[in-house]
């Protein structure tokens, strides 16, 4: 017991010293999360603002002018051209002059009275992000506009707005973005997931490399030839990495909250606790990879593949429920999938454990399984 402690302390100190002396890795560890965060915060916008737009107002009424003003004021649409017909709009999109077209029909105002006004929105489908942004923006604006009109109309009819409000038939789209992210700020949505992404790729890569590098160089053989037990070796290597990961989450979360102004709505302690669970699962996954990879190059290849899968299949950017079953299944094998739901739940929605206890439980089981697999394949021998 005494000797176990002495060995653990020795291994922990050795790993920490080596980590602190490895300038390149340290720079990667601290620089990369910040760079990724700034990329997603500034350079990569999922929502497209100022979409060049052509407008056709065939109604020419105060209501139709109001509506087109609302579109412009939203900043999503910039009116570049005012045209006369739908055909002209299509021609303009084809020519690449504009990416969106709005056609307000002649009977807009009269049909508005009957609550079935139609507005035609034409979008350049070749630019999927513009399409998505334009579509959601236009439908929200249309919805807000008609809501406003409906409320006004009800008030004019002399009926109290409140209790009857629910009965009036309105096309209310309930998507998470609209509920929790009313300004459609991408970063509010993406930051909790990006934190997980950064954390997972760091933890997996560092854990796998910590073992593979020593095995490749031969240090592992020299240390295995001492009375060191495998679990001491693994713990001695993993504890400094856990500390490092906690520093990383501090940096990313701090940048997100204080630089990008993302609100943190839930419990910080709950978040830290579950993040620790996620870190342990990711480190465990890295250990499992280290038992498969033969050298550092293979390790990097495997972790990069994992990163691509994580980008696409965990719900980081693309919604998972739209994916085919196979893709969903692969996503289920990646710890990030569970953490993203937890992270969004706590950071963006501010909900408690009751809403994602299933994900937390899976993460716990996941961590246990990978550590069991890793410790079974990591023996006190070389073969």
């Amino acid at each position: 017991m005494q000797k176990t402690r002495q060995r653990l302390v020795a291994l922990f100190l050795k790993e920490s010293m080596q980590l602190l002396r490895d300038r390149r890795t340290l720079m990667m560890v601290f620089g990369l999360p910040a760079i990724e965060l700034f990329l997603f915060g500034y350079a990569v916008a999922l929502t497209v603002y100022h979409i060049p737009t052509a407008i056709v107002d065939q109604a020419r009424t105060p209501q139709s002018r109001d509506f087109s003003l609302a579109l412009v004021n939203s900043q999503y649409f910039d009116v570049k051209e005012t045209l006369q017909s739908e055909d002209q709009v299509i021609a303009a999109i084809d020519a690449g002059d504009v990416k969106a077209g709005i056609v307000i029909p002649r009977d807009f105002s009269t049909r508005l009275e009957n609550e079935n006004a139609n507005v035609l929105i034409l979008l350049d489908g070749s630019d999927s992000f513009s399409t998505q942004s334009g579509y959601s923006a236009a439908s929200i604006i249309a919805q807000n506009y008609s809501t406003q009109l409906t409320v006004e109309k009800i008030e004019r009819a002399g009926i109290a707005a409140g209790p009857l409000f629910e009965d009036t038939s309105m096309p209310i789209t309930t998507s998470i973005r609209v509920l929790y992210n009313p300004d459609l700020r991408d970063l509010w949505f993406i930051l909790p997931a990006i934190i997980g992404m950064i954390l997972q790729s760091m933890a997996v890569t560092l854990a796998a490399l910590a073992i593979v590098r020593e095995r490749e160089v031969g240090t592992l053989e020299q240390i295995l030839a001492t009375p060191t037990r495998p679990f001491e070796l693994i713990l001695g290597k993993m504890i400094p990495l856990v500390v490092l990961c906690i520093v990383i989450i501090g940096i990313t979360l701090g940048l997100g909250i204080f630089w990008f102004g993302v609100p943190f709505r839930g419990s910080l302690w709950l978040y830290m606790g579950l993040t620790l669970l996620f870190i342990i699962s990711s480190l465990g996954l890295g250990l499992v990879i280290s038992t498969i990879a033969k050298n550092q190059r293979q390790t990097i290849q495997i972790t990069q593949m994992l990163m691509v899968f994580s980008m696409l299949l965990t719900g980081l950017v693309y919604p998972r429920n739209a994916m085919p079953a196979v893709s969903q299944f692969i996503g289920d094998l990646i710890p990030l999938t569970y953490f993203i739901r937890i992270s969004r739940g706590i950071v963006t929605k501010g909900v408690g454990l009751g809403f994602f206890w299933g994900d937390a439980l899976v993460l716990l089981i996941y961590g246990l399984i990978v550590i069991i697999i890793a410790s079974f394949s990591f023996r006190n021998r070389l073969d």
Partner: protein, 328 residues
């Protein structure tokens, strides 16, 4: 105490199974090393030296056979062995980004050496290895020879009774090699340390009490250097011919010649009777117009013995090869 066995192996076998083939790295190897002995395992690259040492240490699982160090079974009592044995792996494998002192402390702690003992032993070992002035230097920045000495000092930090060294002087200059072996000699003389060393160098082999020749995973012979040299049949003649290839061909066919070895531009000829064959060789060379310097009778060295023994072993294996092929 003198005759006590420090290391023993019985029918030690290791087969590496890959999807493509089975590779028998060590084949029914048996040996015994007494306490205080320096045992040299000699063999060409790929003969199974490293695998043998790893099997003894329990770093590899045994396919068959048993081995023990200080009476502890390599597999079942691995940790008892690792507490009492020092080991230097083939590549230099101490953490390169730790200083000399940090490396010493790390291995001392990992071996459970108490702080008081460390204060005494570490300076002693550093002085012994001539590293006292380099305690703050990173291990990666030491010269090849100093790295090996540091590795030796680290492997001795827990006062082991046995050390296993896997080609400890690989890639080290001759002067440093000599220094390293002098250190080993001191250890054996002063502390009665049992040393098990793998090496491809014949001059190092001559420094051992006992030598095992390993070839193709088999222990061809295990004996004292003197005995091994005597095992080679015949006497040895040496000369430098003017036409090397032609001279060699003549020698191969000459009566009474047991074996021909090349040594630089010299030929080494094993013959049944040196006095009788020397004039015959001269005559054969002269008849072909090949001039040569004086034919001298020389002592068989480890190198000639080694090549000769390995050649005869290879012939034995060749003869049995078709049978093995038919069986598999």
């Amino acid at each position: 105490m003198v005759d006590e066995i420090a290391i023993s192996a019985e029918g030690l076998t290791k087969i590496f199974k890959t999807s493509a083939m089975w590779n028998t790295a060590v084949d029914r190897l048996s040996l015994q090393v007494r306490r205080g002995e320096t045992y040299g395992l000699i063999g060409p690259d790929g003969a199974g030296k490293t695998t043998t040492i790893r099997l003894l240490l329990g770093l590899l699982s045994h396919t068959e056979g048993k081995s023990s160090i200080l009476g502890f079974d390599s597999i079942n009592n691995t940790y008892e062995i690792r507490e009492r044995v020092g080991y230097i792996a083939q590549q230099f494998v101490l953490p390169a980004d730790l200083t000399v002192m940090e490396n010493m402390r790390f291995f001392a702690n990992i071996q459970g050496v108490t702080v008081d003992e460390q204060k005494k032993r570490i300076p002693e070992l550093l002085a012994f290895a001539g590293l006292t002035d380099f305690t703050d230097r990173l291990a990666g920045q030491l010269s090849g020879g100093m790295k090996k000495k540091l590795a030796l000092a680290c492997s001795l930090v827990h006062a082991p009774q046995v050390v296993l060294l896997d080609e400890p002087t690989l890639g080290v200059d001759p002067v440093s090699r000599r220094e390293f072996w002098n250190l080993l000699g001191n250890l054996r003389a002063e502390q009665g340390l049992t040393i098990f060393v793998c090496t491809p160098y014949m001059d190092e082999a001559e420094r051992c009490n006992q030598i095992g020749l390993i070839y193709g995973g088999r222990l061809v012979v295990s004996n004292t250097p003197k005995q091994i040299k005597r095992m080679v049949a015949g006497e040895l003649l040496e000369f430098t011919p003017s036409q090397f290839v032609a001279a060699r061909e003549i020698m191969d066919r000459l009566e009474g010649v047991l074996e021909v070895q090349t040594y630089g531009e010299k030929l080494h000829i094993f013959v049944d009777d040196a006095e009788r064959r020397k004039p015959q060789i001269e005559a054969a060379l002269n008849s072909r117009g090949i001039s040569h310097q004086e034919i001298r009778k020389i002592e068989v060295r480890m190198e000639e013995a080694f090549i000769s023994l390995i050649r005869s072993q290879a012939k034995v294996e060749e003869a049995s090869a078709p049978m093995t092929a038919a069986m598999s």
